[in-house]
């Protein structure tokens, strides 16, 4: 039976190998789906089909798996309704009858019909009796394959009491002292090593390599954990109230008068200019600023002349001269402000 490449007009774009990957979520589902596709192909061939497209085979494989799950679910529900957890043959027959009730089967109308000779069972017997056996192509192993878990440590099992009603595959109970509130017992009385460690650690799950405060699960013990807590200030438990005395904040009452020279000293030092010591101090009340348009004082004319000289030379020297002029200007402004505090300030 040929397995067609697919109905290209109705399918999404195919890659160069003309393959189409179905959207199946987990690995176990992929494996089960692949095996069921082989079975479906064999059944279609036995029915009489010569060729098929890929999509119908995928759809039928999906239907096959859903049918098996549906039969299982119904059988379990019938067993539970009878007060059992293990299914028997009558649960399966009832489940098959419920599914076949849509189409109908022989003896469906009789409410007291025997399950052993149900029409469903007779149909299946007919299939088996025909003898047209088409065994599965190849053989598969039991799946999913489970890894053998490591044996638990002796510390966990040394205090184990064997309970008959509790299955072995459940984890062991924690140490009773961890959950029993006893006023007499304190932390030191309980040996730390016997305390149960969780198998899953959020620290390990979220840890980043080399980050402080996180440690691999295999090597943690209480001392190590204490060290980690001490190293990382964010993991330190909060201090109780009034344990540490913190001084009150002192707010300065008044602002002291600031000397202009002190404020601008680093600028002047960097420029390399002379520092002219002045005793004048700027008062808190600053005079009103009025703009004066026009050349009135020497300083303005000096500034303009400096600029003119700068223009005739090339770019780098102009910039240097501009820097010098700026420094000189700053000095002159300071001088004037000292000498004539009442006069108008110039920009």
């Amino acid at each position: 039976m040929t397995y067609g490449g697919g109905d290209a007009a109705r399918e999404p774009q195919l890659d160069s190998q003309n393959t189409l990957k179905p959207r199946i979520s987990t690995t176990t589902n992929q494996y089960g789906h692949a095996v069921s596709r082989i079975s479906v192909t064999q059944i279609l061939e036995a029915t009489g089909f010569e060729h098929s497209y890929r999509r119908p085979i995928d759809a039928l494989a999906d239907v096959l798996l859903r049918y098996i799950s549906h039969v299982g679910k119904l059988s379990v529900s019938y067993a539970n309704m009878s007060g059992r957890i293990q299914c028997n043959v009558f649960d399966v027959i009832l489940a098959l009858e419920e599914i076949a009730s849509v189409h109908g089967f022989a003896g469906q109308s009789d409410p007291n019909h025997s399950l052993s000779s149900s029409g469903v069972v007779l149909d299946l017997w007919r299939v088996v009796g025909k003898g047209r056996e088409v065994p599965f192509a190849g053989s598969i192993a039991r799946f999913p394959v489970t890894r053998s878990r490591q044996a638990e440590t002796s510390q966990d099992t040394e205090n184990e009491v064997e309970w008959g009603h509790i299955p072995d595959w459940l984890p062991s109970f924690p140490d009773p002292s961890t959950y029993i509130n006893n006023s007499v017992s304190n932390e030191s009385s309980v040996p730390r090593k016997q305390m149960e460690r969780p198998h899953f650690s959020f620290r390990k799950f979220f840890s980043v390599n080399g980050s402080d405060g996180f440690a691999p699960i295999g090597h943690t013990n209480v001392e190590r954990e204490n060290e980690i807590v001490q190293r990382n200030p964010y993991l330190v438990p909060p201090l109780p109230h009034r344990e540490r005395q913190v001084s009150d904040m002192t707010i300065p009452s008044e602002r002291k008068a600031v000397s202009v020279f002190e404020t601008f000293a680093p600028v002047i030092e960097a420029s390399g200019g002379e520092i002219v010591e002045e005793r004048g101090v700027i008062s808190n009340k600053r005079p009103a600023v009025r703009f004066r348009i026009g050349v009135g004082t020497k300083s303005m004319s000096k500034m303009l002349s400096l600029r003119d000289t700068g223009m005739k030379e090339d770019l780098w020297t102009v910039k240097e001269e501009e820097m010098d002029s700026k420094k000189r200007r700053a000095e002159m402004i300071l001088k004037e402000s000292m000498e004539k505090p009442n006069e108008l300030a110039q920009l």
Binding site: D7, A8, A9, R10, P12, Q13, T28, G32, V35, S36, S39, I43, L44, A46, T47, F49, E50, H51, Y53, R55, P56, A59, L60, V63, L64, Y67, I68, S69, H70, V71, G72, K73, V76, I85, Q86, C87, N88, V89, V92, L96, V102, H103, S114, S116, S117, V120, V121, L124, W125, V127, V128, E133, V134, P135, F136, S139, I140, A141, R142, F143
Partner: protein, 145 residues
């Protein structure tokens, strides 16, 4: 009369008990015959998917029973789809000038399968086309040829 009715009811009950016994024997025989029959669906696959649904039974005969039931279900769908496919091939061509000659091969298509599944309560809807290629929407045989 009481004894008579008692006797008749007793006879009926024994007959009923015999009938039940026969039925149980038939079922036992059927289950044992399952071990000789190898279904197309492997036991491991059926066991896995039954286990996922909570089906807990160590008896292999029940697994085989479910496998045979599933095989019968799929083969019923396949035979219905085959009927639809044969009906489509055998139908007379309405338009003699049509470009597409009838395919005499028996090919399982989504159309036939969805028609067959609808009777079993499974709604299979297939998109007509994916609008990602200039040739979408054209008929498949013309593209194949």
């Amino acid at each position: 009369m009481m004894s008579g009715s008692g006797n008749s009811s007793g006879a009926a009950s024994t007959a009923g008990a015999d009938g039940r016994h026969d039925d149980d024997a038939a079922l036992t025989e059927f289950l044992s015959s399952l071990m000789d029959y190898t279904p197309t669906i492997p036991d491991e696959l059926v066991e896995h998917y039954l286990g996922r649904s909570g089906f807990n039974c160590p008896d292999l005969r029940l697994t085989r029973l479910v496998a045979v039931a599933t095989q019968k279900f799929i083969s019923d769908i396949a035979s219905d789809a085959l009927q639809h496919s044969k009906a489509r091939v055998a139908a007379p061509i309405k338009d003699n000038k049509s470009k597409q000659p009838k395919d005499k091969r028996l090919v399982l298509t989504m159309e036939d399968l969805s028609k067959a599944l609808r009777e079993y309560g499974v709604n299979l809807k297939h998109p007509e086309y994916f609008a990602d290629s200039p040739l979408t929407g054209t008929d498949p045989p013309t593209r194949e040829e």
